[in-house]
């Protein structure tokens, strides 16, 4: 945690204060946990109170919700989506399936631990997590952004080879991605 508390210029602190209040969540239901998103997004639990709203395209989204299990086919699309998203970007893992395979632990088609493929900011326990738990995790995320600690996305650039190798092992072959991650890494001076 400490290396994340790098010296932040005053502009970064202001930027963090402003950006934490207007986060865009990518509207992409990757797994079964997505059924709890409509009550969270709409009037019943209304996450818009915290400035979070669903966004349709990865290009303008900040939060990528992995709602539960990921079949290998979806994992390919999730990796592409994640790489399209603009940094800083935050991945939130829903439920047991993203941690250790959940109830599909012996399935041939689903990945077992999310953090081997993309860096994950926080995990929520539950199968599936309730809307209240999701909103609680959003508040945690906002607080972390405010403290400048939500830097897991840098991890993707720092040891990209680790992620790349796991992805190619699971996809049994390379997948062509649009972004040149190594070049982006230089851009962010990581």
């Amino acid at each position: 945690m400490d290396e994340k508390m790098t010296q932040r210029s005053v502009w970064e602190k202001i930027a963090a204060k402003l950006s934490k209040r207007s986060l865009w969540m990518l509207h992409y239901c990757t797994g079964c946990g997505a059924i709890e998103l409509p009550p969270t997004m709409t009037a019943r639990f209304d996450m818009e109170r915290f400035g979070i709203n669903p966004m349709v395209t990865p290009r303008q989204a900040d939060i990528l919700l992995i709602t539960g299990y990921l079949s290998v086919k979806t994992l390919k699309r999730v990796v592409l989506t994640y790489e399209q998203m603009q940094a800083p970007k935050y991945v939130v893992g829903f439920g047991s399936c993203t941690i250790n395979g959940g109830m599909y632990w012996n399935s041939y088609a689903t990945m077992k631990s999310l953090d081997r493929y993309i860096p994950v900011e926080t995990y929520i326990a539950g199968c599936m997590p309730r809307p209240e738990a999701i909103i609680y995790s959003f508040n945690e995320l906002i607080a972390k952004i405010d403290r400048g600690e939500a830097n897991s996305w840098k991890d993707y650039y720092n040891n990209y080879d680790f992620y790349r190798e796991n992805q190619e092992h699971t996809f049994e072959g390379p997948i062509e991605t649009y972004n040149d991650i190594k070049a982006d890494a230089a851009l962010f001076r990581i």
Partner: protein, 371 residues
Amino acid sequence: MSKIDEVRDYELFIGPNHPGISGNFSFKMKLQGDKILSAKTDAGYLHRGFEKLMEERLFIQNIAIVCRICVPDPDPNENNYARAIEEIAGIEVPERAKWIRTLVLELSRLASYLFGIGGHVATTGLYAFSNWTIADRDRIMELFEELTGGRVYHIYQLPGGVRRDFPDGFERRVLEVMDYIESRLGDYDDLAINNALFIKRATGIGVITKEQAIKWGVTGPNLRACGVAADVRKDDPYEVYDKVDFEIPTRTEGDAYARTIVRRKEIEQSISIVRQIIDKIPAGPVWNKIPNPLKWKVPAGDAYVRTESSKGEYAYYMVSDGGRNPYRVHVRGASTTHGVHVLENLLAGSRIEDASQIMFSLDACPPEVDR
């Protein structure tokens, strides 16, 4: 034809991440301008291999996994699984458990219809309506939480009955929620169902004739919207559907609006069924105890069990070879026809702006297709 307005075919990939598609699903469309020449569905994004996982688990352990197959309407799965075992093993279910199961099925149908109609109207841009229906659906979620302990996944019906009886004061709260939803129906009609814009937007979209419906294997509300009064609850009654009376609303146009109207009227039927259940439910045990689940063997045999889910005919074909694990469970989701070939036939010839509305009006649920 001058060079400019020469129209060429082109291919368009929609999904799997697309707000206009319900769930994780994608299309490969061939278009000419904005007219769809042909569409090919592409599923498998939510495939977990349920049928394989079920073969490696004990009979009792599967009650936790079956309700995860179709998320908006999980209870037909649990009911199918429990009834398939009861039919093979010849287990008697206590009368009260049957009534409770029917109540749970109807509440799940209500929640799924609210979700479905909300989604369909939202594709035409009327978001306020889906906010209403999702918020009202949550009242039913709270009822489920009280009865079964889980909001979405109930894991409540098991072979031989249900796991727990009503908590006290539960009947009163069910009637309160039913009254509340009934009082909301008027607002729903004003805002969307009778809204001229929505009617104009939904009529004539994704028309299925009666012959096509039968030929393509359309079932459930979509079939009733084409004028065929076929409902598994009436034709092949199970649990206590033969002891409660309800009508089967039908329409003849077979378009998106007809499907919405059929679902809208069935909400009223479901509310009346729930009320009948609450006042006619007999007292008694709720579970005909099965032997020690770690050593329970279901005798060899097979069964084809069907329920009427909010999406259509939902059936399980289970084979047991007399062992501790089911030998084979084939899940016939309702969307295996609606979500794939019926959708492809409807999309061919329609316009790109109606594509997502057609999908939502059929209430196709991708996890049922992938299992």
